[in-house]
């Protein structure tokens, strides 16, 4: 009987590629893959011509919701998401930060009203001299993308 590796191909599902190695387990966490019952393949510290060392996630029979891809955009903006059907890539979903982020980010300012009252968070996505920052709609503090805390 021919032996096949399960990681070789995905019939249906989602592949997240080009995740920086130090962000792989953050992606696992924000997608709650630790409690996901679908077949999941994780790979890390793979050689990458683009980013040196990369991670990879394959999730069977699951298409990511838009808010999930946006969460990934916050922590791994250069990752690639491919939607697979019948072993074919049917969609390459670009990771683009929207102009405003609602609910999924927690304000890092401990004195912000959103950390004390049941208030939905809102952040504007701004470009400060080439650096992406999030500005809290309420306390107006800016936070760098790499310092963002995801709920």
């Amino acid at each position: 009987m021919e032996k096949k590796l399960k990681v070789a191909a995905l019939r249906n599902g989602t592949v997240i590629d080009h995740i920086p190695s130090d962000k792989l387990f953050k992606v696992v966490s924000i997608l709650h893959l630790d409690t996901c019952l679908n077949q999941i393949t994780l790979a890390n510290n793979l050689e990458s011509a683009k980013i040196g060392s990369k991670g990879l996630v394959k999730i069977s029979d699951r298409a990511l919701a838009e808010d999930e891809t946006n969460k990934i955009a916050l922590i791994a903006p250069n990752a690639k998401i491919n939607i697979i059907r019948d072993f074919q890539v049917v969609e390459k979903r670009p990771l683009v930060l929207p102009e405003e982020i609602h609910e999924i980010v927690q304000c890092s300012n401990p004195n912000c009203i959103t950390n004390h009252e049941p208030v939905s968070t809102r952040f504007q996505v701004l470009n400060n001299n080439g650096e992406t920052v999030l500005k809290c709609h309420y306390c107006e503090r800016e936070v760098k993308l790499e310092e963002v805390r995801i709920k």
């Binding site: 946006n70 929207p98 405003e100 609602h102 107006e140």
Partner: protein, 320 residues
């Protein structure tokens, strides 16, 4: 929470655009240049004739969740001189928030009684949130270290009165430029009027990068220095702020800085004749009392200007 006004494309549930449902004043950035100038004109009218009965029958709530002297008294005086009535509290310990009531509930309850709410709150963003949930206008009288727009407007009014213009002025901001909300809001408000800024602060309290980025984006020239002496001889406005002891990890450093940033009368000798010294008050040691008698000292009259500005603000938010 108001309903989302619009969403973009398929990102429903992700991107929202809200507008406040009333005339609230939360941040100086809420006002355009034209609105700022209209407020300043209105303040001049109130200065000429502060006692009117335009708020007859109106009830204004002043909710001060943390202490304030000048701001609360000047707002309450403004309302009383316009014929309105005041309800509220000046200490959160005497309000239902001490029993665990949420800000949302407090605002909804008070809005049943009052036509507008003046609020100071220790949490940043509290005023924006209150404005979103309130059916009546909210006037932000300070939310933590974030915004204090009525202070900014009275600063602008003081600058306009003393200089005759807001355009092309050289403004030195001195002291705690890192945490001082008044200097941050002043930069944003003055950005309409082609200022030149000089930031004078110890390394520990330097102007945050985001405000320097804001200046660059708006083509506002600025310089940064750490010494006060002889660095404001070209200034039109010297805006002093309090260097707060609790901001320093090293108290020895605080003692050194505190004395370096004390303005003394002798230091004003070579300054421009039109220079005026502003301070949001209260001061501690950053302006020596020997400056008070100098005609360039304007900080007490600046506080008086707060009354006229707050009359103008209350009138604007309650305008039909």
């Amino acid at each position: 929470m108001p309903s989302p006004k619009a969403s973009f494309g398929s990102r429903v549930g992700w991107i929202y655009s809200y507008t406040m449902s009333n005339n609230s004043l939360v941040s100086i950035a809420d006002y355009s240049k034209e609105e700022i100038l209209a407020i300043l004109n209105s303040a001049a009218d109130f200065e000429a004739n502060p006692n009117r009965k335009t708020l007859d029958g109106k009830v204004i709530a002043t909710l001060f969740f943390e202490p304030s002297t000048r701001t609360r008294l000047s707002f309450e005086t403004a309302v009383v001189r316009l014929g309105g009535s005041i309800i509220g509290f000046s200490d959160a310990a005497t309000s239902s928030s001490s029993k665990g009531e949420t800000l949302n509930d407090t605002i909804h309850m008070v809005s049943c009684y009052a036509d507008a709410i003046v609020m100071r709150h220790p949490l940043e963003g509290a005023a924006r949130y209150a404005a979103e949930v309130s059916p009546v206008p909210i006037i932000n009288a300070g939310d933590g270290a974030n915004q204090h727009p009525s202070q900014t407007l009275l600063d602008l009014y003081s600058i306009l009165k003393t200089q005759g213009t807001l355009e092309n002025l050289t403004i030195c901001l001195v002291g705690d430029l890192k945490y001082g909300r008044t200097v941050h809001s002043l930069i944003m408000a003055m950005s309409h009027f082609h200022p030149i800024f000089k930031f004078i602060a110890p390394d520990e309290l330097k102007m945050p990068d985001e405000y320097k980025v804001f200046c660059k984006k708006n083509n506002i020239p600025f310089t940064e220095v750490s010494e006060l002496t002889d660095n404001f001889n070209d200034a039109d406005i010297l805006y002093m702020t309090r260097v707060q002891k609790e901001r320093f990890q090293d108290l020895m450093e605080y003692e050194r800085v505190k004395n370096v940033y004390t303005l003394k009368n002798a230091m004003l000798e070579n300054t421009k004749p039109n220079l005026r010294i502003l301070h949001p008050l209260p001061r501690v040691s950053e302006i020596d009392p020997d400056v008070d008698g100098n005609e360039k000292a304007y900080y007490f009259r600046q506080a008086q200007n707060g009354l006229y500005i707050r009359q103008a603000i209350v009138s604007k938010v309650l305008a039909p």
